[in-house]
């Protein structure tokens, strides 16, 4: 009796401690989840904050005199002639006219560097579109240089003393004069979405990378989807239980866990050095990524096929359909939403992949926007990598903006996958 009581007392005495431990344990679990959430929050907000300035562009409005004599062209000139004309001089003339006091060489250099190097091409394209501008004087806006851009956006602090500031007092004076005249304005940065890559941060855009990603994904999709579906159907529906099929299955599961960079080595050794396919081309990138995503899509497709209830198969077989007819007429359509969801998720994975594409030379600096799967191209994640490596400060915001665009694409793809799953998911 006494024994019994003492045990009860012992248990009761320890209860408080045990409940405390319980609470602590639960709190630790919650804290773990919170840490992960917090990190995600910090990551996303950090990148968004860094990216926002990239969507705004500083423009400088100048009064440009398009003197036909100085340019050596007129309204009837051919496109080639206009392309050869010296528009840089027109812009410089306009700047000198605005600031007639600037005489010293170094000061002139500062003056000319207010607008971007790309401004002359901007002017050229404008003239090509509107030949009537020739011979007139127009007020036109030009992209500002990245330093000016940074100053106007407040990234470069004007109050810092001159020696520690990237923009010196003289140039700052010029910019402030322009601001007083209302010649500096901030607009939405459309050129970020319509330009190719550039060494100048203010005119660098992501269109080349987006198109490259698109072509690469297209190749990946066309190559992976049929093969993955066929493989999944075979393994789920037709494969006999034997050694060879076991071996294939082990292979697929292993491939899913092979580091992506190893696929890049495969691409380099086999497709570029052995088959001599072009370097940096989306077609090679697409093939490498399709080999990489193949196991993912096979595994997803298999579980979609497995989820189709046996009763469906039995009904079809019972009505006299052959095995092949059962699979292609009944099982495959029923599994299709699941297969598509898996495919989209695999494609999203391929879109974010960088390392294997570095290996096959898609890391080159390419200004032109690719026109086909065989043109040299780069893809969005590699554009991020390239810009992140650039020393110019202006690329920091561009990098973050490119990341934001990439993440938007990924979210869109995943949203489509979730929508498909919700819409077509059947509870058997």
């Amino acid at each position: 009796m006494i024994n019994h009581n003492s045990i009860t007392q012992k248990v009761e005495r320890s209860l408080k401690k045990r409940y405390l431990k319980e609470k602590l344990f639960k709190a630790m679990g919650f804290a773990s989840v919170s840490v992960a959430f917090l990190f995600l929050l910090i990551l996303v907000s950090d990148i968004t904050i860094k990216a926002l300035p990239a969507f705004v562009q500083t423009q400088i409005t100048l009064e440009i005199e398009l003197n036909t004599e100085k340019l050596g062209i007129n309204q009837n000139s051919t496109t080639v002639e206009i392309k050869q004309a010296d528009f840089r001089a027109s812009i410089r003339d306009a700047l000198r006219k605005q600031f007639p006091d600037v005489k010293k060489r170094t000061q002139k250099k500062d003056l000319y560097s207010l607008v971007s190097i790309g401004a002359e091409y901007q002017l050229r394209d404008l003239v090509l579109e509107n030949r009537a501008y020739l011979g007139t004087t127009k007020k036109l806006s030009f992209i500002a240089d990245d330093d000016v851009d940074a100053l106007v956006k407040g990234v470069i602090d004007r109050k810092v003393e001159e020696s520690a500031r990237r923009i010196k007092n003289f140039k700052l004076g010029l910019i402030e004069d322009l601001e007083k005249n209302g010649q500096i304005e901030k607009t939405f940065n459309w050129s970020f979405f319509s330009n190719g890559d550039s060494r100048e941060p203010e005119i660098a855009g992501i269109k080349g990378a987006v198109m490259g990603s698109l072509y690469t994904l297209l190749v990946t999709l066309l190559m992976t989807f049929p093969v993955a579906v066929a493989a999944a159907i075979y393994l789920e529906e037709f494969a006999p239980k034997n050694r060879m099929v076991d071996f294939i299955e082990i292979n697929i599961n292993n491939l899913a866990a092979v580091p992506s960079i190893v696929f890049g080595l495969l691409g380099l050794a086999v497709f570029i050095n052995f088959f001599e396919l072009p370097r940096s081309a989306p077609i090679v990138g697409g093939i490498v990524l399709s080999l990489m995503t193949l196991p993912t899509i096979i595994i997803a497709s298999r579980s979609a096929i497995k989820a189709v209830p046996p009763s469906l198969r039995e009904a079809a077989l019972g009505l006299g359909a052959s095995k092949m007819q059962t699979v292609f007429h009944h099982v495959f359509p029923a599994a299709l939403p699941g297969i598509l969801t898996g495919t989209i998720i695999g494609m999203a994975q391929a879109l974010g992949e960088t390392a294997p594409l570095l290996m096959i030379g898609m890391v080159a600096f390419i200004v032109d926007i690719p026109q086909s799967v065989a043109d040299p191209a780069t893809v969005l994640p590699i554009q991020v990598y390239l810009w992140a490596d650039s020393p110019e400060r202006g690329f920091l915001e561009k990098t973050s903006a490119a990341i934001l665009v990439l993440i938007c694409f990924l979210i869109a793809m995943n949203a489509i996958a979730i929508y498909l799953r919700k819409k077509f998911e059947k509870k058997w």
Partner: protein
């Protein structure tokens, strides 16, 4: 004739055979279906006329395609051989590399052959001749075979042919081929890294590579410079990789495991349905984004933090890269742990709770020991993922191969070195690029062993409770 023209004709021919084949049995098929004899009626019902068409199309397509493929593979070596023979016969000697010479010949323009070495022009003419002969022969052989097979196939088609079974067997073979591509990929990976590695080990002894502690792949331009010969001792890389992976696992395993436990055992279903997808987002963010974040935000932050307590932290510290990598693999660990914990039979949970244990005691003393093999498998998979991760370390870890285990120093990893060795513009055959393949082989083998063990452990564990 170009390949695409041949393919187009083949497809046309196949379509023709399809219609002919179907037509051939159609009349008989209709007649037999109205036959009074049940046996005859049943026989045709098993096979629709279109299957005869499919079989006929396969007859005209498959042999021709196979032959075309073989010819495509062998024709270039044969042309080269013929050309060499011709050159020997007509005493044309070349000083340059034969491959380069051949390339030049191939790229010669017919309209601009004035002023070029007459011998070369002769070789070029021979080459064009051979090429056109080969091309004609290819078209003739393939198309003749296709027509022959079409006739043969159509002849074989009778209403008694088990056409559907034939056709379905063909489809099954195609499906099997698709499934075998995974095997082909593995073979491709093994062969490509193995061949280049063997060449590398021909120049650098295996022992020097595996146990050398000095890694400096740069070869100096002048022989008398400091460090003129490159050394390929990979130990610093292995240690660096292990250090960063270790940091990553120290972050990911406790956080991932506790998250999984909290979500599966404590959280309300509402919270779970919100939290699980959010955790999955962490796995879906491209690694290059983590790399950017690690290099530009986390590393400077850790550096400042270290300096404020008087520690000197490298700006590309292993800690920053490992930390961010750890966060990246949290969902990986947590989803695997979730799987294995929910596979523990409910009766074990209830038994423990029934004896008066609290929830946490049940988890620590019953669930985790029972799920341990599965958890270990998950951790191994996470480790293999961390070892093979590339972009985070390329962007946030250093390039200098320091032999250190201090996570505050900069280290380099196997993947970083593969990327740096292969992204420059250099000769493909130099020891530098070959070294990348040797590192790739090491990486592939390590992750393969980890994966095989992990998959085996997880499978055995699943079977235990099935």
């Amino acid at each position: 004739m170009t390949i695409s023209a041949i393919l187009f004709l083949l497809v046309l021919l196949a379509a023709f055979s399809f219609f002919m084949g179907r037509q051939k049995v159609h009349a008989v098929y209709l007649k037999q279906r109205q036959n009074s004899d049940l046996d005859v009626r049943l026989r045709v019902k098993f096979t629709l006329p279109k299957y005869f068409g499919y079989v006929a199309a396969l007859w005209s397509l498959v042999p021709a395609l196979l032959v075309l493929m073989v010819i495509e593979i062998v024709d270039e070596p044969i042309i080269t051989k013929q050309l060499t023979n011709y050159m020997v016969q007509s005493n044309i000697n070349i000083e340059e590399n034969f491959d380069l010479y051949l390339n030049e010949i191939q790229n010669l323009d017919v309209n601009h052959i004035e002023g070029i070495d007459p011998a070369k022009v002769k070789v070029f003419e021979k080459f064009s001749d051979l090429n056109s002969i080969a091309s004609t022969a290819k078209s003739v052989v393939v198309l003749a075979l296709a027509i022959l097979m079409t006739v043969f196939g159509l002849k074989k088609i009778t209403v008694d042919l088990p056409a559907r079974q034939y056709f379905e067997k063909a489809i099954e073979i195609i499906l099997l081929l698709a499934a075998s591509i995974a095997v082909l990929t593995t073979v491709g990976i093994v062969l490509s890294v193995l061949f280049e590695s063997i060449r590398f080990f021909g120049e650098i002894p295996v022992v020097d590579f595996m146990f050398g502690t000095q890694w400096s792949p740069q070869t100096a331009i002048r022989p008398d410079q400091v460090g003129s010969s490159a050394t390929f001792g990979a130990v610093p890389l292995f240690i660096g990789t292990m250090l960063i992976s270790f940091v990553a696992l120290v972050v990911a395993v406790p956080l991932g495991l506790m998250s999984a436990i909290f979500l599966s055992e404590y959280a309300s279903s509402k919270f779970r349905s919100f939290a699980k997808p959010v955790l999955e987002i962490l796995a879906g963010i491209p690694t290059v984004v983590y790399g950017f974040f690690a290099a530009l935000t986390v590393a400077p932050f850790i550096r400042q933090l270290g300096e404020s307590v008087g520690l000197s932290v490298a700006s590309e510290s292993a800690l920053a890269a490992g930390l961010v990598m750890g966060i990246m693999i949290i969902p990986f660990v947590s989803s695997l742990a979730d799987d294995v914990i929910s596979a523990v039979p409910q009766s074990m949970r209830e038994g423990s709770l029934g004896l008066g244990a609290t929830k946490s005691e049940t988890i620590i003393k019953v669930l985790i020991p029972a799920a341990l093999p599965g958890i270990v498998g998950g951790v191994l998979l996470a480790a293999s993922r961390a070892i093979g991760e590339t972009m985070i370390v390329v962007m946030a870890a250093g390039l200098a191969a320091n032999l250190t285990v201090n996570p505050l120093n900069a280290v380099t990893t196997v993947t970083v070195q593969i990327v740096t060795l292969l992204t420059g513009d250099q000769e493909f055959d130099s020891a530098k690029t070959l070294a990348a393949f040797a590192l790739g082989l090491m990486l592939f083998l390590t992750t393969l062993v980890l994966n095989v063990i992990a998959l085996y452990v997880v499978r055995k564990y699943r079977e235990q409770y099935d």
